[in-house]
Symmetry: C2
Subunit: 246 residues, 2 copies
């Protein structure tokens, strides 16, 4: 594309996304990277993303569940939803995943910050109309999170397939931005008598609530082991993605 900036040596590594004005990390650029491994790890560690799209000049940031197969991102929903009806036509979109990892309290207001991992992915969202691709995706949305689960479920009906819209977006460009360190105070502020530090946060799995109508003898499957009580959600989602990739 015409606005692609000259990438640095790092950016041209084979496993990195191209860099343009759209995805170049402008602020605190030492926090930015474009390599597949970093971007994919942030995407794969989350179930929830936000998709930005535009209708008649109005932007929307819509939360949804995403999953990834290679460079392809998928999300889905009811065929009746506002977002999905709009995206059918093929439209520029931005899918962002963000993890909050810690609150950073500095000796000055200016240097307060957060630790985080975020990935922004750009591409053209399109409706998945090919029947085989759609069928694969509707297995993927279950099995990517819950290993081998779909084979043991009540089979999807034609009506349910029709009622579900699947959207795909190839990642044309992406950037990752990470802050993972301690307090970044100015050297001249170090003696200022204010407390400073990092308060880490993490998202963890709670105690499973089995559906009360499950008959005795049907246990939570062993394949859900990554979602053990107390486990960190990021890690469970990354582990199940790796299982899904085989």
């Amino acid at each position: 594309m015409s606005d692609t900036l000259t990438p640095s040596a790092v950016d041209t590594a084979p496993e990195a996304y191209p860099v343009s004005a759209r995805n170049r990390v402008k602020r605190v650029h030492e926090r930015g990277s474009y390599d597949h491994e970093t971007v994919h790890a942030i995407l794969d560690s989350a179930m929830l993303c936000h998709v930005a799209y535009v209708i008649d000049g109005q932007p929307y940031a819509t939360p949804t569940i995403h999953w990834r197969e290679g460079d392809m991102l998928y999300w889905h929903g009811s065929s009746a939803s506002r977002m999905l009806r709009h995206l059918k036509a093929g439209t520029p979109a931005c899918l962002t995943v963000s993890h909050l990892d810690g609150l950073v309290l500095a000796r000055s207001g200016f240097n307060h910050s957060v630790n985080y991992r975020a990935a922004m992915c750009f591409g053209t969202a399109r409706l998945v109309e090919d029947e085989a691709e759609k069928a694969r995706a509707l297995v993927g949305v279950v099995d990517r999170f819950y290993p081998d689960r779909s084979a043991g479920l009540r089979r999807i009906t034609a009506q349910e397939t029709k009622a579900t819209t699947v959207i795909a977006m190839r990642i044309d460009e992406a950037s990752a931005k990470i802050r993972a360190k301690g307090v970044g105070d100015e050297p001249e502020d170090m003696d200022f008598p204010a407390w400073a530090g990092v308060i880490p946060v993490r998202t963890v799995i709670g105690a499973t609530e089995t559906c009360p109508k499950i008959p005795a003898g049907i246990e939570r499957p062993a394949t859900l082991a990554p979602y053990a009580e107390g486990a960190v959600l990021d890690a469970a989602l990354l582990a199940t993605q790796r299982i899904y990739e085989g």
Copy 2:
């Protein structure tokens, strides 16, 4: 506005946001609400939001920290950032906060879901140019999260104030969408021999990492009590917002 739909009796309660084609919850509308209390509680329970905006037809979903004063949402960043330079002019934006509360595993793939709380807010983002409003906002971004903290910090410099852009957006319209329940299988699927249940997730506070250069005798302030190790982040953020509101 011309596209405002006729609101229901509930929607016209004095403390609710107006409903239009932009914010009406279309899917599973029994999960939707427009009242201030519900929308604000979702916003106030989070530090991280995603702001959607458009540059030359390209949508962006940018993660950032937000805070709220009444019906006004604020976010900020470097004066050099792509998003903030664009929003200076006053532009339609959508600020969304989402909480993932649980993974819902059903007896069919179709009824797999998540428990969540999400709020989408629409308005026109504008640059805060009034010096007094900007100064108040730069105190607010600290004190809203960390009660009474800014008074004890190294004072902000003119240079830092200049380098920081603050954006404000009055909430013109908003909607909240919440799923907080068990498995939603079809009645005819109840006897299908698959395990089903809810795996709850929550974001919790970890052990504080005091900056290693803090001299002995400077302790973590008691005002940070809501951020105790093991506390749920949502609750700590809601508690500190209530303290901030006095």
